[in-house]
Every structure is written in structure tokens, then in C-alpha cells.
Symmetry: C2
Subunit: 680 residues, 2 copies
């Protein structure tokens, strides 16, 4: 690998770079070599099998730049097989990248078919591990780099065991461990089609690529003709009992696997499948076990690039496999797969231009496993006292005072991202370091991935907190079962905050905060009037009783009056279509159904119904008794009578209602400002 001058992108207007992106809907080579344009345009390729096309993005431009930069680099020689078979254009150069969610970007000769050759070894190894199991495969094939060239006759001293599955000997041994009967060309009539090992290989590769791949019979014929070294290896391994079937048959299936035709887009899809841990990026189907993929990638890391493996790990830093057909397949675990096709090879048998392009892509996209991006140190997004996000339950003033005093003993901790080891450790450390705390509301709704360590660790932390007299409540989708049964889960933060507020009041509140019953003179607007006015008003009001669950006011009702609660609590909810709710995850509010949203919980000392005064004179929320409820009602009729019979009291009442209203406006503005700060 020669030293690569870095692709300088600083100061380059990337959108202005011309775009030779190949589009599958256009005839090969008919693509204008200089399409200048920006934003989604006619060069946007449809992603295979997906409804949503892959748009033109800066990644498109980067692929174009890398492609153009290395296009003039024409060192190296086309492999002997390709020269013999013909039909290979030595100048071909294609790049493709597929994301783990199945979007493929490609450029250059991205639909040109070529022989997969040694890249097949990674997939044959995966299928052998799947079909025969790790133990049987490991008994026959080691996982150490051989440090030798791809076609060395190299078997380990004594055992005859191939060093790894990505050299010829190891791949032949792996082929013999793929399920299916032999497809011996000398005995083709003896096996039913569909049962053969060769079919198993072709179908397996096709499933990974997401389309039906085929063996190129011309390439296969060449490989058979030129197969002496590989037949020698097969025979040698049978002499060690590592291969138990007819060496010719096993070698022939190996030749067939090497002769399968792929495009660089196929390879990038197969690489992306390895990046997901074995799930097909487009269909979501699990094609390979995660353990199999992990093993294959581990071996690719040290053995994938022949005797260039160390240099590759230093310069590109990603698991990869190359083939003498001119392809290189590269895996970015968890993120993407990419592939390059350029048939001229370097002295190691790797695509000369391909290696350069891979190095440039790894550097430009910052993909080197040993560099990577330093993860944020902490998964803790923000932590604040529960008082910063009140539950919306309106409580008596004494209770509010207590919460103001001890609110810091109830903490909300919001956590985000993937709880990989470092992130999980930071969360646990935060939880285990808390001082002067009664309850923690751990909001994990933004957590995306929860590995075993994080799951068990959170459960353990919860138990430890419980033993220390502390309460841990998760805000999460209850179906996710993130931390086991030991931890209470609530779906909404407000519900959790209410529980924490109740706990704090219970522990620190002292007596008299649970207002079970109040006099009507102590309720809402009446409590702000002088004694005579309050008494006069009381005399005009009617007492009302409701059972738990009973609807007191229904959304859309005409104004029924103002209720003053003397005992019990109510919940106000609204089902206004199209408005944002706190019951659901947020996506596009326009897609939301008419789910009910809880607006507030009100208890003794509070009033409701004032909204009926507004706008069209209809109530805009439904009010439901949460338990047995007693109220005093100030009806519209009474309000009208009052204007006529006692205009002084009427004026003072309306002034009091106005004050009450603006007190709420003011408090809500505070809450909104706080919410804006917390939410961003």
C-alpha cells in the first residue's frame, strides 16, 4: 500500500463537484460524466426494493470526489483468471456504500458484474459455522493470521490445520463443512438439484445480497482448469483427515463459490448485513447469527487482506476481505458496509486502486476502529429537581411550600443514547453518588440500546437504592421491560413526578397537607373575597355530589358554571384533534390520533369550569371525578342574577376571577419558560 496524499476537502464547495453517479434506471455508461446539480435530482437512484429512494446528500458528493481523485490511478495488473476469461475492463472503478438501514449510495461502474473470488471465503466461513457449528469448524480451521500470501500452500505443522478460513486452504476446508450433498461435476446426475452444497452457497450469498446471484461458468471453467494448487491443498487436508469427502468435489464447490458474479452494490449490501450483526439491512430478516458474524469479522480483522493485514489495520482500521476479481468488501460494525471494484491488483493480490479508495473513505468518514469518535463521557443528559417539572397536580399552598423546601430530594435524571459500557457506567455512577435524595425519576425514553450489563446494572442499582430507603422510578415504555420487575415503570413523566411529589410530602410534609375537605369559603375565588361577600355568594350556590369516575363536565358542553371543590379530586382531559398530547411519543403531530390528554388534576380548594366563559361559551375540556367528589356550583343563572341584584358583589367577583386567572397565566408562563429551557 503506497502512502496516500490525503483527499483535501477543506474549502472545496462539495455541492459544486460534478456528479457521475451511476443510476440503475439509466443504461450503462450512458450517464453524463458531468451532471452539475444540487438537491434531489434525476441522478437520485432508487434503493433496491425500498419504497424510499436514497437522496443526493454530501455522502454522494464524497463518493464522487474519492472516485474522481483515484480515477487516474491505473497501476497494478488484472488477475490471470480475468485476463483469460476476458470481458473485464481494467479501467472499471465502482464504489458503493450501504447504511445499516439499507440505503445504498454508489458511483462509477456500480452495476458491473465481476467474480467475487476470495471475498466468498468470508461468507462460506459464515455458512460453515452456521451449518456445522463452531466446535466442528474450529477443530479443522484455526483463526490466526498466516502472514503469508493468498495462494501459499500453508498448513500448520503437525496438524495440517489451515491457519484461518480466509486463505485458500481454510476456505476449502470450510466449503466441506457447508451443508448439502457434494455437487461433484463428475457425478452430477447423482444428486437432486436443491440439495447440493453449491446450491446452498449460491442461495446463501443471494439471500445476503438481496437478489439472485449466479455462478459464471466461464470463470468456473478457468478455476477448474487452473485448480492444481487448490486440489493439492484439498488432498493434503484429506491426508490429515481434515477433509473427509472427495477432495475434487469439495474443491469444485469452492471454485463455484469463487466464480459467483456480484456488483459492488451487492458487496456493499452484504457488508452492511455483517455491520448489522446479521440482519438484512432492507428486509430486517435475520440471515446470520450474531455470534457467527462476530467471529467472521474477528477473523477478517487480522486475516482479511492476505499478508497486508497489519498495514490494513493500521491504515484503514476496519475488518475487510478482498478478492482477485478486484473487489474489496469493508465492514463498519454497527454503521455501514462499503465496497470497491477496480480490477487491477497490487503485489498482495488486493485491488490497487481499491485499497487507496478504502483508505480515503475510512479517513474522510472517520471510520477507523482505533480512532473512531470518542463517545460522550456520559449518557446523563440532564438532571434537575422534580420541582422544575411540576406534575400539574394543583396542591394546597402548604404542600407547595413543602415541595419548594424538599423538592431537591426528588431528582429527575434524563438519559439518552445507547447504553454501551461507558455510557451505562456513567449513569450508574451518577445514581450511586447521589446525596440527600429520597426518589429518582430516571427518564430513559431516549435510550436507544440497552445491553445486558446496563439492564442488570440498573436492576441492581434499583435494589441497592430500595435497601437504602430510596425509590427509583423509570419513565419508559412499559413494554420494553428495561430493568426487570424490580423497578416501577411509568409511561409518562408527569405521572412519575406526581408519585415523587406524593412521596416527598408523605416523608417531609407533616400533618394537614392532605386536604381531605375544605369549607367553600376557602375555595378558589371565594377565598379572596371578604367574609360578607363570601357568605352572600355561598348562599346563592348549589351543592353537587359526584361518584368516582363520573363525568362532571363534558368537552363541548355549553357553560354550566364554575365548580368549587370542597372534597375529592378531578382530572381534566382534552381530546382536541391535531393538538400535541403527553400520552404519546412525539413524532409528527399531524399523524396523531385523538387520544385523550390529561391537562391537570385538581383537588379541594380548587375550582374548575371557568373555561366555559371563553370563546364560544362551550367547555373545552372534560372533567372527571377521580374519587367521590363534592363541589359548590356557581351557575350561569346565578351569575346573571347577581349582576342585576347585587352589581357591587358581581364586580368584585369578576375582579377576583380576573386576578385568579392572571395568577394562573403567570404561573403557566413560568412553567412554559422552564419547559422551554428543559426541552430546548
Amino acid at each position: 500500500m503506497s502512502a496516500l496524499p490525503p483527499v483535501d476537502v477543506t474549502g472545496v464547495d462539495v455541492m459544486a463537484v460534478a456528479n457521475p453517479l451511476r443510476c440503475r434506471s439509466w443504461p450503462d455508461r450512458a450517464v453524463p460524466s458531468r451532471v452539475v446539480g444540487r438537491g434531489p435530482g434525476p441522478w437520485t437512484c432508487e434503493t433496491r426494493g425500498m419504497a424510499e429512494p436514497t437522496p443526493h446528500t454530501p455522502l454522494t458528493d464524497l463518493l464522487v470526489r474519492v472516485h474522481d481523485h483515484f480515477l487516474p490511478h491505473t497501476e497494478g495488473e488484472v488477475a490471470a483468471f480475468a485476463q483469460a476469461v476476458g470481458g473485464v475492463d481494467a479501467d472499471d472503478f465502482g464504489l458503493a456504500l450501504t447504511t445499516v438501514d439499507g440505503h445504498t449510495y454508489s458511483v462509477g461502474q456500480d452495476e458491473r458484474s465481476f467474480a467475487i473470488q476470495s471475498i466468498s471465503k468470508a461468507f462460506t466461513y459464515a455458512i460453515a459455522l452456521t451449518d456445522s457449528g463452531f466446535e466442528a469448524v474450529d477443530a479443522v480451521i484455526d483463526v490466526e493470521p498466516s502472514g503469508e500470501a493468498f495462494n501459499e500452500i500453508s498448513l500448520q505443522e503437525g496438524t495440517g490445520r489451515p491457519s484461518n478460513a480466509l486463505i485458500n486452504a481454510g476456505a476449502i476446508a470450510a466449503t466441506s463443512l457447508v451443508a448439502g450433498s457434494s455437487s461433484n461435476p463428475h457425478d452430477e446426475g447423482s444428486v437432486a438439484r436443491g440439495d447440493t452444497r453449491r446450491d446452498r452457497l449460491v442461495r446463501g450469498y443471494s439471500r445476503m445480497a438481496g437478489r439472485a446471484l449466479e455462478v459464471d461458468e466461464e470463470v468456473l471453467a478457468f478455476e477448474r482448469e487452473d485448480g492444481d494448487r487448490n486440489l493439492a491443498l484439498a488432498h493434503l487436508m484429506r491426508s490429515f483427515d481434515l477433509v473427509t469427502e472427495a477432495p475434487e468435489a469439495v474443491a469444485d464447490d469452492y471454485f463455484a463459490a469463487c466464480s459467483i458474479l456480484v456488483t459492488v452494490r451487492d458487496l456493499s449490501m452484504m457488508a452492511a448485513l455483517l455491520a448489522t450483526g446479521g440482519v438484512h439491512p432492507q428486509t430486517g430478516e435475520r440471515v446470520l447469527d450474531e455470534a457467527v458474524v462476530e467471529r467472521v469479522l474477528g477473523v477478517m480483522s487480522t486475516c482479511g487482506m492476505y499478508d497486508d493485514a497489519g498495514e490494513w489495520m493500521v491504515r484503514v482500521g476496519l475488518p475487510a476481505k478482498s478478492g482477485v476479481g478486484g473487489g474489496i468488501l469493508v465492514v463498519v460494525p454497527g454503521q455501514a458496509g462499503f465496497a470497491v471494484y477496480s480490477p487491477r491488483l497490487d503485489r498482495h493480490g488486493n485491488s490497487e486502486r481499491g485499497v487507496l479508495a478504502c483508505e480515503a473513505l475510512s479517513a474522510q468518514l472517520d471510520l477507523h476502529l482505533m480512532h473512531g469518535v470518542r463517545e460522550p463521557h456520559s449518557a446523563v443528559r440532564v438532571t434537575y429537581p422534580v420541582t422544575a417539572v411540576p406534575s400539574g397536580v394543583r396542591r394546597p399552598p402548604a404542600a407547595a411550600t413543602v415541595l419548594e423546601r424538599v423538592g431537591h430530594r426528588g431528582r429527575v435524571i434524563e438519559v439518552q443514547g445507547a447504553l454501551t459500557f461507558g455510557a451505562a457506567e456513567s449513569v450508574m455512577r451518577e445514581l450511586c453518588s447521589l446525596q440527600e435524595v429520597d426518589a429518582v425519576l430516571l427518564d430513559v425514553r431516549r435510550v436507544t440500546v440497552v445491553p445486558q450489563f446496563a439492564r442488570e446494572g440498573l436492576a441492581a442499582v434499583a435494589r441497592g437504592m430500595a435497601d437504602a430507603g430510596r425509590v427509583l422510578v423509570l419513565v419508559d415504555d412499559p413494554d420494553r421491560g428495561l430493568a426487570g420487575d424490580a423497578v416501577r415503570v411509568v409511561a409518562r413523566r408527569r405521572v412519575g413526578v406526581e408519585a415523587v411529589e406524593n412521596l416527598l410530602l408523605e416523608r417531609h410534609g407533616g400533618p394537614g397537607l392532605d386536604l381531605e375537605e375544605v369549607e367553600v369559603g376557602d375555595v378558589g375565588v371565594v377565598s379572596t373575597l371578604d367574609a360578607a361577600d363570601a357568605k352572600a355568594l355561598h348562599a346563592r350556590m348549589e351543592s353537587r355530589h359526584y361518584a368516582a369516575g363520573e363525568v362532571v363536565i363534558r368537552e363541548g358542553d355549553p357553560f354550566v358554571g364554575i365548580h368549587l371543590i370542597t372534597s375529592g379530586t378531578v382530572e381534566t382531559t382534552s381530546g382536541a384533534a391535531g393538538a400535541a398530547g403527553d400520552e404519546q411519543d412525539v413524532a409528527d403531530p399531524t399523524t396523531r390520533g385523538p387520544e385523550l390528554r390529561r391537562l391537570a388534576v385538581l383537588g379541594p380548594g380548587h375550582s374548575f369550569g371557568e373555561f366555559g366563559l371563553v370563546g364560544d361559551g362551550r367547555h373545552a375540556a372534560t372533567v372527571t371525578a377521580r374519587e367521590e367528589l363534592q363541589t359548590w356550583l356557581l351557575s350561569p343563572e346565578v351569575l346573571r342574577q347577581l349582576e342585576v341584584e347585587d352589581s357591587g358583589l358581581a364586580l368584585r367577583l369578576w375582579q377576583a376571577i380576573t386576578r385568579e386567572a392572571f395568577t394562573r397565566v403567570r404561573a403557566q408562563m413560568e412553567e412554559l419558560a422552564a419547559a422551554a429551557a428543559h426541552a430546548g
Copy 2:
């Protein structure tokens, strides 16, 4: 490496596992072997040099479990040097893990000193690369796995070049490339102390460990005595001109480096320094260049474990380096470093028990590079129309109607986490796929890491959008300069939303929405009265004018009346201490200063001052004219006169004010519910 039975943690109450954690404040070996306890307790060790101690967490318990699980495993032999020098307890077993933010967890013999031996090779290589540069080092030392044992006399055919820097030959060559004069033991008087290569090495290692390390003279004497093979290598390399100095002197510095004493806590700190890319985890000081660290880790990945490198990558999957002293150092790039000490070695010269413990830790903590955790597919946290998060600017009803109709053409996209390649690609794809959009507010305040590709890609997307007539605005800390000068950055979402609302009104609003001036009869509460009432009220009001920037009402002023705006706009702000604001990042509100918070922007047709009616009769917000302002004032005196002189109008006015107030309460409740949904 033998097959490892998995450490079964399912169903184990990890908090109940006994805790033999070594604490530095307790005498060695005096730690009770079974301390049962939970939560922070006396076994919490102080993290060296840090104010904040590392608490007891589930990670502590996991280390204890792994330690206890392998404690009975006593296979293998102590190295010859250790047997000869003596003082090594073959049963010693210590584990330590250090996070990238410098918290160390440890268990067992975590303060026992032992010779660093070959682990030094990784750090000598790093120092050689730093002192002599990549070119000079690469000219002498290759980066390929040798596939041979640690002490092979292995130099590449023809060139005599060592295969890599982590075998003896390579490490001796690397030592010769460390700055400083020779510290030839045969000529010690000839160089001043402080200038020698040996000092450079000892100081370099010490800086990485964060404490002064020392050479063990007994071990050094043994290495010199037993140094024939290494002296042979040094001489051989001089014969190839790869080593240009006196071979004895170079070899002696190499021996000295191998004889430096470390603890397993030291090694875990040094590993964590490599995990951060060269920044000291505790001091934040940059000790090594990122490129040097990337190179060292790349070579460790394929060459760190002698001829067990392939198996190690398959089973543990992390860059590592072992030493015959019994230590193994393991790096989890970006997350942590850990180390093991157990002096009995396997046939490869690696710590027998150490390898098993490393494999268990990698598996339990899900650290294997080829497995890892699949990152979330998208960095896009949530996307919604701007109408879901109104700016707080109160606009005329016609404008509100327009925004309702075209609000979806202004999108807010919130992005979070590290914009690694896959994450950045998903954001750009989202931005490039948008249809029917005029403006996008990209809220990147939760983005933690922005590599080059993401930075340049966002700038390119912004340019592409601008050319397509679209506007991209970032919500971010303006000092971060995330996407260059091309993109407008606002610090607060509200400000960005206001800009997007203005743009949408400008493009889709038609004429008449920019209410430059209105009649007082069209303002706020007056507009809801009938014509006669409005006229009567108008006659009692006073006209007021204010210059841009002038304060109309100051927070704390006694009630000055209700202002009705006929032209110009005002901003209301509040400086209430201790309350949450939207100007700052959210942390602990109790730590906040009294910064001003913007509550609302009001324009023609709106009124302000009503809050002075509330509570103690003082205004709770400051109102400032944003531009030249004209209002009509309804003073407290007029309100009082009205009660006496026209009680009917007074009552209707107060009723109107009440309706207006509850309209705002209702709208704010909707906003709060939406904010709760968006914020979580």
C-alpha cells in the same frame, strides 16, 4: 486460550456478592475478604488525584465476580525472570478498570508492583513515533503480525526489518528512536542526568500513569544478565543499519523500560489514556498525539498478543498488550482501559488467568469491537412542524391562521448524540429528503461530537438548501461554530422559531398580516366590547409613546395600569431568582444566576400590564419597547372611577378581561401539554 464457561450472572443478586475490593487507604492484604454491604460504604476507594471518589456501582460487583470466578484458576508458570528475582507471589490476582473520565475501579491485588515487561513496547513505540516521526520509524519497523513467539529471532528477509514494534526486535529498534542520549551502563558518567533516553522513557511512562514510576534494579540486572538473544537482535539490526547506535546501549535502555514497576491500576490508567486518544483521563492534559495512539492501537490489534493475536481478536476483540511480568493491558477505544495482573503464564507467554479474565470482562461488558452495540440508526431525535413549539410572539389572528395553514413548511429537527458517520448520514438524508419545506430549524444542542465529515456535510447541505430557496437555521451554542459561517446559528429555539414564523408569513401570508398600526378599538379586551362601551372606554384612556429600548414597566413596580398596543412591539422579561429560564442550559436550577428570561413578545392588538392586578399588586415582569411604541393606557385611577361612574361598563370590562385571561390560560395549557410531550 482455553474455552471459558460463561460467567452466569442471570438471577444473581449482584449487590449481595461479597466485596474484597482493595482500598488504597487500607493496608495491603488487610482487607476483609468478605465485606458484605450495599451502596456507598467504607470500601469506596478514592480515585487518585480526583476530588470525587469512585462510588460502589454494579461495575464494582462485576469486577468482584470475575475476580472470584477465576481466583481458583492457578494453571501456568511464573516467568523465569520473576522466579530468579523473587518477591513475586504466583497467586496474586488484580483487576482494574479506568473510565475515559478518570474513574478507576479495582479489585484484588491492585497495588502490587510488578515489572511492566513487554507492555512497555506499546509505550516505547508511541514515544519513538512522537520523537522521530512516522517516516523514520516506519523505515525501520514494519506493522505486520509475525505470527511468531515473543522471543523469536525474527527479522524480515532481505531488509532485516522487524515485523512490528511489539516483538523484541521491533521494540529494540523503537528504543533507538526515542530521543535522548544513550544511557550506556558502561559509560554512565558521560551523560548528564535528565538527557538520557532511559530518563525519557521513565518520565514518559510516568506521565501516562499519572505518578512517578521507577525501574526495578533487580529486574534490570536479570534482564542484562539474560540479554544475549536481545543483544544478538540489536547487533543484527545494526548490521542492517537499522540501529545506528551502540547496540549494547540501546539494548540496555530496552531492558530498563521492561524493568519499570507498575500496578494494575497504573496500567488501567495508561490504557484509558490510549482509549481517549492520548489525553490523560484525569488531568485532561494531551500526552500523546491522536495519530500516534491510533497507530499504536492498530498494531496492538494484530500484534499485541504474540502468536495468540488471531484468537485474541476473535475472543476478546480489543487492542491489547501483554507482558511476561503477568500484566495485560486492554483498550476499549473511546470508553475505558482495563488491566489484569496474574503472574502465571500460558504457553504463549500471556497471563493465563489474565486472558480468561479479559475475555470475561469483554463479554460481560459487551466490548468486543466486532460485536459492540449496534448504534441507533438515526441521530434524528424528533421532527415536528414549528407550530408545535410556538415562538411566544403573539400575532394577529390572521397571521395565526396563516401559520396554522403553512406551519408544516417550517420544520424543527432535533438531533442528538455523537455525529459519527452513520448518525451524520441519517441527518443529512433527512434534510435532503424533505418535501414542501421552506425552512428547517436544526436543533443540535444535544449533539456531543461533530467529526469533520458531519461538519462539512452540514455546511454543504445548508448551501444546497439555500440554492433551492430553503433556509437552514441551527440552534446551537454560537461559539461551537459547528457548520461554519454559511449557516445562521441561534442560541435559543424560540428565537429560531420566530424567524421561521416570520419567513413563512412573508412567503405565504399575503398582505395585511404585518400589523404596523391598529385602532385602539381593535386591541385586546376593548375589541371584545360593543362599540358604545369601546368608545366610552377609549375616552377615558391616555395615549403613551415610548422610544425603542425604553422600559415601559419595571418588575416590582406597583400596578400602573393596562397598556393596549396600537403600534410597535414590546418584550417582557423576568429576572426572578431561582426560576428556570430559557437563556441557559439546564443543569441544576438552584445554581442559576438571575439572568433575564424572555417571556413573550407582543405587538399591535395586544395588551400588557394585567399581571399588576395579581398578588401583591406589583408587576412581576419588565416590559421594554423593542421599537418605537404607541399604547393607550387604562390606569388604576380610571378603573376605580369607572366602578363609581359607570358600574355597568365596569362589570362588562372585568368580564371581558376575565375571558381574555382564560383564553390565555387555555392556550398556555395546550402549549404546556405540547411541551411536556416534546420534552418528555
